[in-house]
């Protein structure tokens, strides 16, 4: 594990934001800036995915889709089982589980920057997998919660009780719309026409990411104050679960999808990371009984910094040894 591999803008800007928060700097970001940057990044990822898909091999692509669904449905169930075994109430367990089935775009893109800095090539399918993994995670969360509530709630008029409504929410989630919409546009538009918007969405991409990570570093740092509320078990889960997810990702990326070093790392990160953009608002509506403080503290305050600062180089180290 070569620490110098972390000296890339993405990681360092994240660290800068995190440190600024920890030393209680008065550095402030306009709240809407983070939202604007994340909209930009999701569209950029979607376009990239669409372009990749347009010249992808169909068999490989379907394989990747299947793998994404296995991860997206499987990981939240594993997370739920662990959390309930640790005596967390079922509704909080359901909501947290959904976050771990989904992906952190910020972590994923950091992994891409990490690979690029070391000039390691990678397969493009993981970008497509990322877009696919939001909805299953949300659906599993909903099903687990519904199962947990177990008819306890009598008011049938509540939207939250209509399964159709909830599934609709999983597919019309704002982030899902941006990812799939942009993917469709990347797929449909002719390259020459797409080239008019390329300078905006591709050339600036890593720079915008650095600014986004600076802000997310601050957000992560702010959550440290909430560790006490979450408790030792949950904090431990926030470190253990990415390891489990990464292991699943490595297994699938290597044994099933047959990717190289770079591609396997990206699948590992799909497994290891937890959503903090798409899934929290979905859980706010679908599982209002769960405490947002728990799932935001875990995904943003524990798992995100762990993956960016420790996880990525560690998973890479494991993968290199595995492939050697």
């Amino acid at each position: 594990m070569d620490v110098s591999s972390l000296l890339i803008p993405a990681v360092l800007f994240f660290a800068l934001g995190f440190i600024a928060q920890v030393i209680r700097s008065d550095l402030k970001f306009p709240p809407d800036l983070a939202k604007a940057l994340s909209i930009y990044l999701l569209i950029g990822i979607g376009l990239k995915g669409g372009i990749e898909l347009s010249h992808a091999d169909l068999g490989h692509a379907l394989n990747a889709v299947a793998a994404a669904l296995v991860l997206g449905f499987g990981l939240p169930i594993a997370a739920y089982a662990i959390l309930v075994a640790g005596r967390l109430d079922k509704l909080n367990a359901s909501a947290i589980a959904a976050h771990y089935g989904s992906v952190s775009a910020g972590t994923f893109l950091t992994a891409i920057a990490y690979l690029q800095a070391q000039q390691i090539t990678f397969e493009s399918y993981p970008v497509i997998m990322l877009a696919l993994m939001e909805s299953p995670a949300i659906i599993v969360g909903l099903l687990l919660a519904r199962f947990s509530r177990n008819g306890a709630r009598g008011e049938d008029d509540a939207r939250e009780n209509h399964m159709g409504e909830l599934l609709r929410d999983a597919f019309t989630n704002g982030s899902v719309m941006l990812l799939f919409g942009a993917m469709a546009i990347g797929l449909l538009v002719k390259p020459a026409s797409l080239a008019t918007i390329t300078p905006f969405y591709e050339v600036l991409f890593m720079g915008v990411l650095s600014l986004f990570l600076l802000e997310m570093g601050m957000e992560a740092g702010k959550r440290i104050g909430e560790f006490g509320r979450a408790g030792a078990f949950l904090i431990a889960f926030g470190v253990a679960m990415p390891l489990i997810g990464a292991a699943a990702g490595i297994a699938i990326g290597h044994a099933w999808l047959g990717f190289g070093e770079g591609g396997v790392l990206l699948v590992a990160v799909l497994g290891a990371s937890a959503s903090y953009i798409a899934v929290p608002p979905a859980m706010r509506l679908a599982i209002p009984e769960a405490n947002p403080s728990f799932y935001l503290t875990l995904s943003l305050g524990v798992t995100f910094p762990f993956n960016v600062l420790v996880g990525i180089p560690f998973y890479h180290y494991v993968i290199k040894n595995l492939l050697a």
């Binding site: 709240p31 994340s38 008011e155 903090y276 009984e289 799932y295």
Partner: protein, 103 residues
Amino acid sequence: MIPTHPMKLINIVANVALEERLSEIAEAHLTSGYTVLDARGAGSAGLQTGALEGGSNILFMLIVPADRLDQVLADVEKLMKRGHHLAVFITDTQVLRREKFSA
């Protein structure tokens, strides 16, 4: 003297994901309108810095005639019973042009 008329101002602090649900309540009760402000804060649901949608609050303001207060609050209560984290506080207020708010 400019005449003013007593009404109730309902204030609701909630996550931004609930904005649509709250405006639907306003519409269901045929209020003359509603006002929404972006907010941040902290509470039992943890820190709401406003940077991510999952951690962003709104302050939803609704002026209603006193005799409709209870019906509106009943719908807000339903949201709270389902588990939503809301801070709800009601203030006496005096409006200009009663007809504007009691249509």
